[in-house]
């Protein structure tokens, strides 16, 4: 539970900071472009986190090594197990 509460605290802090800035509760005179950038910021962070996750998954899929030896060993073990089970009476 500790990691979850840490994440929730961090997100809660960021959210309250963003809310305070967007609603002008701190009485800061932000220039108009800054306000325009600040307003979609949570959505932007979500979208970029999603893109990052997608990119990491894609990269891992692309760079995962094929293990030729393991494939052959596994297939021979499957055949062996099938022969053994049919000998002992199991129907496939």
């Amino acid at each position: 539970m500790l990691k979850l509460t840490q994440w929730l605290w961090g997100l809660g802090l960021l959210d309250s900071a963003w809310a305070a800035l967007t609603m002008g509760a701190l009485d800061l005179e932000l220039s108009f472009p800054c306000q325009e950038v600040l307003w979609p910021l949570p959505a932007y962070l979500l979208v970029s986190a999603g893109c990052y996750a997608l990119g990491i998954v894609g990269y891992s899929v692309a760079t995962f090594h094929d293990c030729e030896d393991a494939v052959r060993e596994l297939q021979s073990q499957i055949l062996e197990a099938q022969a053994d089970l049919t000998r002992n009476g199991l129907c496939f």
Binding site: E36, V37, S48, C51, Y59, V61, A62, T63, F64
Partner: protein, 84 residues
């Protein structure tokens, strides 16, 4: 290195995520600092869509996940009912 379709799919995903990220970053972060008369603005939708599109697609994703869970649960309940 992985072979064949694995590489294509993997690098395709990386490319898609990079495209979405750069487009969205330009849209949200860079455009407000660019003069509104500049030609680049015609390649981007009105700013309200920068929140609506991710929100709508997030809700759609939740809907699809919920439908899938419902379907799986109904199928398993029908299977147990037939076994009784």
């Amino acid at each position: 290195m992985a072979t064949g379709t694995d590489q294509v799919v993997g690098f395709g995903l990386v490319a898609v995520s990079l495209i979405i990220f750069t487009y969205y970053t330009t849209w949200v972060i860079l455009l407000p600092f660019i003069d509104s008369q500049h030609a680049i603005h015609k390649y981007f939708l009105p700013r309200a869509y920068a929140i609506l599109i991710p929100l709508a697609s997030g809700l759609l994703l939740l809907l699809l996940v919920g439908l899938f869970i419902t379907y799986v649960m109904l199928k398993s309940r029908r299977a147990t009912k037939k076994a009784q």
